[in-house]
């Protein structure tokens, strides 16, 4: 799953750079002959494409944070002690029960996240980006923990007994027998999570992060007559990304499915 996401991400970003260049090229050549509002969008395609790169980076980074924090959280809920799992459950409930826009406001205005994680000193990103990754990422972790909890529990109990019977320790059994089966079953849920995170990057408009959605608003505020063109265009871009990636992940899922097992 992880390499899958990486590959999809890399391909997406790579082809994007290419298309930005093509679009910019096209822009200078052909935009003039279009109707004025379309021409306006066309001329600013490069600006929107820059937002798109940020959207994609935000999506991938948030999903990774969600995976890295969410998988252990899910495992603790299944295998952890009483207090550990209660604590994870409580934190998860808070993140799942609060609107993403409130979480983002907290991450940006309330908690000094950029002091705790000064990523902006290493990478060329701003404070809003770091806050958005942490907000979207932790919220995603809260959902991914539920996903992994479900799939870990869905692995037949007999698998654990069989693994213990051949002499594996509990940890060894979880690692070598339960987790590999559970991860494969998590793909459809992860796909769902991807769609949610990608769409919710648009809420980062609340903290002024210049991703695709915020930039679209910048544009139609500049030229209010082009509002329909701008919004429909970016809606189409989101749709192509969710639809395309979902179909690609479904293909991967079928391709790597265990023969003889459904899903």
């Amino acid at each position: 799953m992880l390499p899958g996401t990486g590959v999809v991400g890399a391909v997406a970003v790579g082809s994007l750079e290419l298309s930005i260049r093509t679009i910019a090229q096209l822009g200078s050549d052909t935009c003039g002959s279009l109707p004025p509002d379309v021409a306006f969008v066309c001329e600013n395609a490069g600006y929107l494409a820059g937002g798109l790169v940020l959207t994609i980076a935000l999506t991938i980074a948030s999903l990774l944070v969600g995976l890295v924090a969410g998988f252990p959280a899910g495992a603790i809920e299944v295998y952890g002690g009483r207090y550990a799992s209660l604590a994870v459950e409580a934190v998860g409930t808070v993140f799942r029960g609060t609107p993403i826009v409130v979480i983002l406001i907290f991450a940006y205005f309330v908690v000094p996240i950029t002091d705790w994680f000064p990523i902006q000193r290493v990478l060329p990103v701003g404070g809003a980006f770091v806050a958005a990754v942490v907000g979207l990422g932790l919220r995603s972790a809260a959902y991914q923990s539920q996903l992994f909890r479900g799939t870990l529990q869905s692995v037949d109990e007999g698998q654990m007994e069989a693994a213990r019977a051949v002499g594996l320790s509990k940890l060894g059994a979880i690692r070598h027998v339960i987790v590999p089966q559970a991860l494969r079953r998590s793909v459809p849920g992860f796909q769902n999570e991807f769609t949610i995170v990608l769409k919710d990057t648009s809420v980062a408009i609340a903290i002024g992060l210049a991703e695709l959605f915020t930039r679209s608003q910048d544009l139609f505020v500049q030229r209010t007559t082009a509002v329909t063109e701008v919004i429909l265009l970016i809606s189409a871009v989101y749709f192509v990304m969710t639809f395309g990636t979902n179909r690609a992940l479904e293909y991967l899922n079928d391709y790597y499915a265990i023969p003889g097992e459904s899903t």
Partner: protein, 301 residues
């Protein structure tokens, strides 16, 4: 083996004890939360002038509780305005899920049993589920400029203003797509032979779907609704971006005035959590109530 058995038993007893305590706390919290919210709303719209307190003003005097705790005084001061705003959040959620359901049933039935209409239904759900809700609200509000349709309607705080109708349309359209998807998979999880059996005693396809498949499917769809209700409560906050004065929007403007982001948004988070937890408890109760005896694990307890 015996070792795991033993630990499991202790853990279970522990959970039972904390479970019943937890349940009483939940009930007490729920009564307090909803009692207070309803009292605010009643106070605002149903008491004659001169009785109760003006909208936005607290029942208690913040200065009176200040000696006990500053945070408490802060909460007492700002919670009333937030409670009033939560009314719109509840209205947006409830109206949209109900309207959404009305349209989602035919859309999902078309998707499963239709031919041409199946494609239309598929295209609609994919399109809505594949684009951000915020973009959908912007299309309605900015591109189609729908709020002009609702100008001139009464707006007294109880009945909502024009832009609220736009938000309701947006959330309803969005909710139709999600609910249709939940109902679709529920329809598919009803054994195909149930419809065959219905046809075998002479029911038409339509009667079979209506009397046999849907009643079972709608029960299977309850966890989906639970999700959808929680989703709508949380995402109704996005209506703030088309100027609807719901909970998040009001909180944002208060915080912009007093810069107390931490306090205000902590209170807001608690209010949303209260709404979300109430919704999931409510739906769990509904699920237990309509469970079919002898079927599935939901009937227990």
């Amino acid at each position: 083996m015996s070792e795991t058995g033993a630990t499991r038993t202790t853990a279970d007893t522990g959970r039972v004890v904390s479970g019943s305590l937890g349940r009483w706390l939940t009930i007490a919290g729920g009564v307090l939360f909803w009692g207070w919210l309803l009292a605010r709303w009643l106070n605002n719209w149903f008491l004659p002038a001169g009785v109760g307190v003006p909208p936005g003003e607290s029942f208690l005097d913040p200065a009176a509780v200040a000696p006990i705790s500053d945070s408490l005084a802060f909460a007492v001061e700002y919670l009333p305005q937030l409670a009033d705003a939560a009314w719109l959040t509840v209205v947006l959620t409830v109206v949209s899920i109900v309207l959404g359901f009305v349209f989602a049933v035919p859309v999902s039935v078309a998707r499963v049993y239709g031919t041409y209409s199946s494609t239309v239904s598929l295209a609609f759900t994919e399109l809505i589920r594949g684009t951000p809700l915020l973009a959908q609200l912007f299309v309605l509000y900015y591109a189609l400029n729908l709020s002009t349709l609702f100008r001139g309607l009464p707006d007294d705080g109880f009945l909502p203003s024009a832009v609220v109708y736009v938000a309701i349309i947006g959330f309803t359209i969005n909710s139709v797509a999600y609910q249709a998807e939940y109902i679709r998979s529920a329809l598919l999880s009803v054994d195909r032979e149930q419809l065959t059996a219905a046809r075998a005693i002479g029911l038409s396809q339509r009667q079979g779907i209506r009397h046999v498949v849907l009643p079972q499917a709608l029960r299977f769809a309850i966890p989906g609704w639970s999700n959808e209700l929680v989703y709508l409560i949380k995402y109704s906050s996005l209506a703030a971006f088309i100027t609807v004065p719901e909970l998040f929007n009001v909180a944002r403007s208060i915080a912009a005035d007093n810069f107390a982001y931490t306090g205000i948004f902590a209170l807001v988070a608690v209010l949303y959590l209260g709404l979300v937890i109430s919704a999931s408890k409510l739906m769990a109760g509904v699920e237990r109530r309509v469970a079919i005896p002898g079927l599935g694990g939901t009937a227990s307890q």
